[in-house]
Amino acid sequence: MTADVFLFWFLALITVISGLAVVLMANPIYSALCLAMTMISVAAIFVTLQAYFLAGVQIIVYAGAVMVLFVMVLMLFDLKHELQAFTRGRATGALKIASVGILSGLIVGAVTIGLTIAGRSSDEVISAAAAGGVVDTTRGLSEALFLKNIFGFEALGVLLLVIAVGTVALSRSKGGTHARD
């Protein structure tokens, strides 16, 4: 077992465990911290896939910004008495679990079947990747981003602007009947 393989299993384990913890932890703050952990290990997985810059962005944006926001809001709310983590519905629970089960089964099935039916053995793909190689991902990334996807890029700029304006407006709203504070 080489270091790479060990690394993958290690990271996959951390990712899955902390991902499970997000869903299972009763206290939302623990969930948030576990999610941050997941984000970081996903970033590490990106590194094993040679997406270095994306890994950095993943950490900066997700772990360093989005999750900080989550944690901050949760601390703002100070929900100490979270007695019940899961919803209780009229007989919907079983169906939900069933659908999750089927869904996960199907996704796993789709991936494995898709890969085997296509007749593409993984070695072949790996060699192709090694030969073609994502040599300088950041350069390729910026070429694709700024030459091919300019409109998407500018549209995202506008989206962010709209969100910024919208959240400010939303935070100004007094929440219906809530008295002004």
Partner: protein, 380 residues
């Protein structure tokens, strides 16, 4: 290859090196604490610690003993897990990020080349920014885990401050990235070696009496970056998180003993990262004034006449050069702390959002325009 080397020897050396970088950081903290206390005393016309040992140097050991013998305390109302985890996590971002800063030219021993840094990362800037942005968690965990209002307030303030200044920090180095076209710190240092020279409109301008350092291209960027790092490491004049008059001691109100010390290590670690990055981005990193490493090596070789020794000497000289710059910035951190008064919180936020961010933006735009104009229009 994901890890540290190809042979067992290399892996072992690299592991030891990593530990050494970490220990270097940890052992620097007592010295800095001593320096800070003595320095502040001199600035404020006091004596400072001067009883234990010569110049009070052994004070550190006394402190350590005190830390060790304090009883371990956690408030009942708080969240114990968070309360204990926070100081441990305070250490991680600082050390992980610091290990990515190159401290000297690579050392060649036989067939092996050892970098004088924890590890080389090809997206170094992004990595360091990302890792150090994780520091906000530590603070939030500490504040929330203490279960105290002061702690929570302090934590929220501190994290809001950190993220606010992270914008200015991130934007102030876009100019530098534009200039050098790389995320890699080593390449960035390479670009700053030698004499001052740049090309514009197809001509090359050079000045042999100046080094090719970033500060001469990005003075505004340097000021913004340095100020933002003050806020990032929660140092005065930006230490609103622990404004004594308002919040007792901020997020570490409830901490004491070793846990407190670990927060200190984290804070000083951030200072060190900031100083190291300052040196790397704007002052040529480990490079020596306007000499390239090759010139320094040749000089060493001429002096001793042995390749091996010249190599080592070269590494040592550059390491010294780096550390001199490093120490100067650390001293500026300390000096500023004892010289400037604290901001009010609204002033702090105003400074971050309404002053530094627009200026950093302007700096970026101007840099981009200058680079664009000078290289797009070639006067032949």
């Amino acid at each position: 290859m994901t890890s540290m080397g190809n042979t067992t020897f290399e892996i072992v050396i690299n592991t030891i090196k990593l530990l050494a970088v970490f220990l270097l950081m940890v052992q620097a903290v007592p010295i800095l604490v001593w320096l800070e206390r003595r320095g502040s005393a001199f600035i404020q016309n006091r004596f400072g610690p001067n009883r234990v040992g010569p110049l009070g140097l052994v004070q550190l050991l006394a402190d350590a003993v005190k830390f060790l013998t304090k009883e371990d305390f956690a408030p009942e109302k708080g969240n114990r897990i968070m309360f204990y985890m926070a100081p441990v996590f305070a250490l991680i971002p600082a050390a992980v990020a610091y290990a990515a800063i190159p401290m000297s030219v690579p050392l060649k021993v036989g067939d092996y080349t050892f970098l004088i840094q924890g590890y080389e990362i090809n997206v170094g800037i992004v990595f360091i920014l990302g890792i150090s942005s994780l520091a906000a968690y530590t603070i939030l965990m500490a504040g929330w885990g203490s279960g105290s209002k002061f702690s929570l307030m302090g934590a929220l303030r501190a994290s809001a401050q950190i993220i606010s200044y992270e914008l200015a920090l991130g934007l102030s180095i876009v100019g530098i990235i534009l200039l050098y076209g790389t995320f890699n710190l080593t390449e960035m240092i390479h670009a700053q070696q030698g004499i001052y020279h740049f090309s514009a409109f197809g001509y090359t301008v050079a000045a042999s009496w100046l080094p090719n350092w970033g500060i001469f291209y990005q003075p505004l960027g340097m000021i913004l970056f340095f100020s933002a790092t003050f806020a990032e490491s929660n140092r005065l004049p930006f230490d609103l998180a622990e404004g004594e008059a308002e919040l007792v001691a901020g997020f570490h109100t409830e901490y004491g003993g070793f846990k407190m010390l670990m927060f200190f290590i984290g804070e000083y670690g951030h200072m060190m990262i900031a100083s190291g990055l300052m040196a790397t981005f704007f002052f040529g990193g480990y490079s020596i004034w306007n000499f390239t490493p090759q010139e320094v090596y040749n000089w060493c070789y001429g002096l001793v006449g042995s390749e091996q020794i010249a190599n080592v000497m070269n590494v040592v000289l550059h390491f010294l050069s780096y550390n001199i710059k490093f120490a100067i910035f650390l001293w500026i951190f300390i000096h500023v702390r004892w010289t400037l008064p604290r901001f009010r919180y609204d002033q702090l936020m105003d400074l971050g959002w309404k002053t530094m961010l627009p200026w950093a933006l302007g700096n970026t735009i101007v840099t981009a325009i200058v680079i664009f104009v000078t290289s797009y229009f070639v006067i032949s």
